[in-house]
Symmetry: C3
Subunit: 445 residues, 3 copies
């Protein structure tokens, strides 16, 4: 291993990075995305102003494992007008009003018929729900339950000026090339419309992470993937089936702008390096996180962790999907996410990348007893205090476990000390000639 040329998140620019992620998320927020169509392309266009995204267009009808690439869906306008001509629902007002991938319709119908196509949240009567109908033929609308209750009898004009037709499924990729072709997959779904946390936050964070990595030389290559949920991940897997073994670590990133969690769902493997690195970042040095074992419901980790692939891909979120009241409602808007929370999420992912890039296995060259740290200026000169500081503890842990079977990540997990503390202690001990630079711990990956 050669010492990497970068270690540690850019702490002094955290506010800045948070603000930049937030602003990018704000630009993405109004776009009416679905699993196919112009909304996806428009989103990739915005991201492409920051990084050089490769866009892939897969024709409708293409077989993708057990699935078929669906029709392309585009929507021009949608509204519901009451008898007086007043728009009570309007795409222009909120693209959540229309069930995503809804069939088109333009008809006048009585309230009774209209009601059967309207979805509301009776328990959250002020919020518009987010609903989809990707793989069945229906049309539908969403509105707040209060507005729904206020609908008067009479006829309504319903317009959903949408088209489902042969076209393409679109996804984007950006590859940060490292010294090897071993890859770290970082993926965010691009199919949700105006939901800020889920997943404008993930799209924006990963894009600006890719920007931040441009100036960095890395061991791994980093593949950033922006694709529609489920069908996008399946399409990417189908088209990259023979290269999939290059992926040594991976994260699905979503809901990273709120103040909850952090939440990490382990890969199906359960004890992969990415799982252990996440535990070190999220659970050491007093941090507390919600750590979940893999389950087959969630985001695209479902596909990467299917038994035929079983890739080491976990899911990183702040609040877990489905656990916060704003989830999949109009309350998941730009007031729900903040630059500070985005910056912290960015930092956590950066810390995980630091571990992937820098982990090595030290060998203590003075394994019999402790070497004398005080003589080398690595230990407090005055004794008798109740406890030793975290810095000294990092030295002691590294030396004690540097028997060639523990990587720095192992030592961080065992000691519950932050990886950066362990890493810096090991660097200093190595510089003092107390450690031999052992193998690159992730080398086999």
């Amino acid at each position: 291993m050669s010492t990497p040329n970068w270690v540690g998140a850019p702490a002094n620019s955290e506010t800045d990075i948070g603000t930049r992620i937030f602003k990018l998320a704000a630009r993405l927020f109004p776009v009416c995305r679905s699993i196919t169509g112009s909304g996806v392309r428009e989103t990739l266009g915005v991201l492409g102003q920051h990084i050089d995204i490769t866009r892939h267009e897969i024709p409708t009808g293409t077989q993708v494992f057990d699935w078929v690439v669906p029709s392309e869906w585009n929507i021009c306008d949608a509204y519901v007008k009451d008898g007086s001509g007043r728009k009570i629902i309007s795409l222009a007002e909120s693209n959540l009003h229309i069930v995503s991938y809804s069939n088109p319709i333009h008809r006048i119908m009585p309230l009774s018929e209209l009601k059967a196509h309207i979805h509301t949240l009776p328990d959250q009567p002020d919020l518009i729900p987010y609903r989809t109908s990707y793989y069945s033929e229906q049309w539908g609308l969403c509105m707040s339950h209060n507005a729904f209750l206020a609908l008067a009898d009479g006829d309504y004009e319903v317009l959903i000026d949408a088209e489902k037709a042969d076209g393409h499924l679109t996804y984007g990729e950006y590859l940060h090339e490292g010294a090897t072709d071993k890859e770290v997959l970082l993926s965010a779904h691009i199919c949700h419309p105006s939901l800020a946390n889920d997943n404008c936050s993930g799209l924006a964070l990963l894009t600006l992470l890719a920007v931040a990595m441009r100036s960095r030389k890395t061991h791994y290559s980093y593949r950033f993937l922006f694709a529609p949920g489920t069908i996008g991940a399946l399409t990417w897997l189908a088209r990259n089936e023979d290269r999939v073994e290059r992926i040594k670590h991976g994260l699905i990133v979503s809901c990273v702008g709120d103040g909850g969690g952090p939440t990490y769902k382990r890969s199906r493997q359960g004890n992969a390096i990415i799982d252990r690195a996440m535990e070190s970042v999220l659970c050491s040095g007093g941090r507390q996180a919600i750590m979940q074992d893999f389950s087959p419901y969630g985001y695209d980790e479902r596909q990467y962790c299917s038994p035929g692939f079983n890739l080491p891909v976990g899911l990183f979120q702040r609040s877990g999907f489905g656990t916060f009241p704003e989830y999949h409602t109009s309350a998941d808007n730009m007031t729900f996410i903040t630059p500070e929370n985005l910056a912290l999420s960015f930092r956590m992912i950066t810390e995980v990348i630091d571990i992937l890039e820098t982990n090595w296995t030290p060998v203590n060259l003075f394994p019999k007893g402790e070497p004398q740290l005080g003589r080398r200026g690595l230990y407090a000169s005055l004794g008798g205090d109740k406890s030793t500081g975290q810095t000294s503890m990092a030295f002691l842990w590294v030396l004690n476990l540097a028997d060639g079977t523990h990587s720095l990540l192992d030592i961080s997990l065992r000691s519950r000390l932050p990886y950066p503390d362990i890493f810096h202690a090991a660097q200093l001990l190595q510089a003092e000639g107390l450690l031999r630079s052992g193998s690159y711990a992730n080398a086999k990956h």
Copy 2:
């Protein structure tokens, strides 16, 4: 594996089965049982009205491992009369009044001498305790502490018209023959007198379970054993030593009529299929049970789990022995158990049998990514809801873990979903061509 011809407990007849078990227990309750003698035979006679029990009579003096079959004990009458001739204790009133297997006596004695032979429960002064003296020569009586305190000075006539003589130890067996001679052992002790939960409930439940199984074709043969505690189990083991390896799973059943627990004590093996099946039944789908590791005190699992046999036999109870105040007292009567509780216990055991009979290891034929469930009508058509239903989760769990190393029981335990949900999901997925019917998971047993 061929799909079994029965799966699932008879939910719609639950009240009925509970009532029938209760009535049978009520018929058993008054009988004065001990480890040998006419009480055991009378009990087997009652059970024999339901199933075709094979009765075994083992002569007194037969060597049974380290033990010897004891004398046969029969009691005709017993009472204590005070000076006025009033019966203050009477076998007719409660057979708990006489220490089980007590020596005979007929003498007039002063209160001071009588007292040394009377057992009471000072902390439960209204209850008569249940006491035994199987392997030592003594006579004794039991009464409520309050009645004991009220005894006046004076002489008392004590009669225990019992006989210990050469005879036989009696036990009964019923075999439900399955497709193989691999056996499931279901055993209830038959030696306790008028105690409803311990163990009229177990005797009655197993008998009616045997009845219910008559119409069912099974993979395993089911051996129902009704034998006196300890010496009965030892005798059965000694006489079946060369066939003991046929027993692949087993349950001791007692105290199954009260509303506590459920309680399951694992076999000495600790992780046998019966232990895992019990965990699935008792701890999935929100059920909560008291799960105990094996310990060498309890019922006849002590003998089956002795190191020379180490059979996969656990103990199923509702309230655990010794943990409920009615235990081994006159309060363990027919008011302490209910048809509802008996029906639930019956259902739980039936669910375990379902697992033993039907468990198999699925192999996902579409292991790369998820197969498209929606197209097959196995998934909700409208997306966006906070959570997926239990049915969908069962599909997802089965598909994700169907890599040939997880049986349906494994998947139930891992997902914490009820085994029936997992089983039905697997059947539907198999019918859709998504799963290959893998090996019969319990085949090697």
Copy 3:
């Protein structure tokens, strides 16, 4: 294995042993110890009145792994006088007043200069802290914060009449010879001045334990080591490097006179026999202890558990170092420790030694079913009680686990019954011909 000639702590003499340890600790308390010098020799002289200690003198400058034996430090007098000639600090009053291993000085200086060399405890303003400066050249004083705040402006005469010069590092050893040259290491640090719990208590306890063992024949040889912290352990390891593999079990003993804990920190191995024996002694039969995994900060287990040695050496304490407010202050005096607490600590260590000496692996000669204990007088004759006694449980556990794979220590840990109960049950069962005396369980160690 032959039955050892002693088992069980001397319960009837506990008050006596506690008093004797306390008195010896009281004799050690006033001595001004440091890592080298006359204080260590004086302490070994006191201990040498009880056991025949071998004293080792290692010259200053001797290389010890990465360390060098430091100069010998001796102090004759020390005080600070105020302008009126009153001694506000005095070695005679408390040897905690002088930073241990302080450089000499004799000067008059203003308060401002003096203050920079004074250490206090603002949060415990009545107590004098204990501070050391072993490996850096400085002088310092310690006093209560209240006295510090009361210091008037003006000039002070500061005298530390100490000498650092070529000399020796001193440590003492006592070997109790057993039947084999396999060793149990019992070590207490000898470098702390007037601190009663840390570690007059450990020095005194181990000395009187050595006395108590003189009359006992043992399997192991017991090495008692009284050496200064860190440099003493390192020196011993360096001089015994080729014999270190003889050490099969070991304990560092400190802070054994207060009423806290008990606290046991496991060896780096984590599951060594000493770790398991300690768990049996401290956590069975209702005892509750603080069990800690190894960490590389603490006492001399740091050296014995360094990766180049990785010996099975744990740390036994009552209150853990750094966790009690008296730690490293003048409040750790003879009023903080009691004969009763010392006696209990003595008993616990003795119980661990009992396990090391007597552990064996029983084989049940009647493994099919339970043997009939009642016939042999090993079981209650009256049945029906809610629970069986601890004695019966010990019989049942031993018989059930006596399959040749469980030692008595294993059985104690599994059953949570005290090892002595398990041991005595096994002895009785063996005497009854129910067990075969299996292998000596610690034989390979």
